[in-house]
Symmetry: C2
């Protein structure tokens, strides 16, 4: 096993390469960092065991299946009792693709994807039951 507990510079370069393209073979990564594919494989396994790598997923294009609206929502809660219900709402609503408890501006931050503004309207009505919000619509992702 490679540097069994610590994460060195080579590990970070492997991580970076996989973030860019998780389908790279260990051999290809090995050419970047000057190792054999098997050595890279061992390091990747280490990164998984340490919890640095949490899983493998897709980069994809929601617009292509009709999710044209991409919005960010900062939510301000009305009361202190609504939190549990709000979290349940977030969990069950599939338009909410990411959610954080935050400090600073607002109580929660949500990423929302819906097909059109009428669906957004419906969602905002739901959110209003729990508190106020500020909305930003993504016009273009620049990074």
């Amino acid at each position: 096993m490679p540097s069994s507990q610590t994460i060195d510079d080579i590990d970070k370069r492997i991580l970076q390469a996989l973030l860019d393209n998780a389908l790279l073979t260990h051999k290809e990564i090995g050419q970047l960092v000057h190792l054999t594919g098997q050595a890279v494989g061992a390091r990747v396994r280490k990164l998984q065991d340490l919890g640095v790598i949490d899983g493998y997923t897709l980069r994809w294009n929601p617009v292509s299946i009709g999710l044209n609206v991409h919005a960010f929502l900062t939510v301000f809660m009305n009361s202190n009792e609504a939190h549990r219900a709000f979290q349940a709402f977030v969990e069950s609503n599939e338009a909410v693709t990411e959610a954080h408890r935050v400090g600073g501006e607002g109580c929660y931050w949500l990423r929302v994807r819906v097909g059109d503004s009428s669906e957004l309207n419906k969602l905002l009505d739901e959110v209003l039951k729990f508190g106020n919000y500020k909305l930003s619509l993504s016009i273009e992702q620049i990074k």
Copy 2:
């Protein structure tokens, strides 16, 4: 080739499965949707060709490499001339992991990851050159 241009329900289920775990073999996905691995492979290729699937990447844990601070930044620009410079700044600054041009609250929305609050401080100083901001710190991701 499967339903060469359109995306049917099976495609969506394949997409969902891969979003959850991109390492599933085509055969395993095939068992979920009642197809052979090869048929699944053909559909995945179609999704790639159509641009629905944009690439493969990792789910990972930034905290494990010392990026303990996760912040959302809504930026309000000072002047109309600063946009190009701001976009260049965003592009070159590696603490900014995601950025959008937005409408609604603010002009830009940024996701920021840094190691500690002093690094955050430095970043905010940079941002102040372009405009004002509102900051939210992620306390816990709930989805």
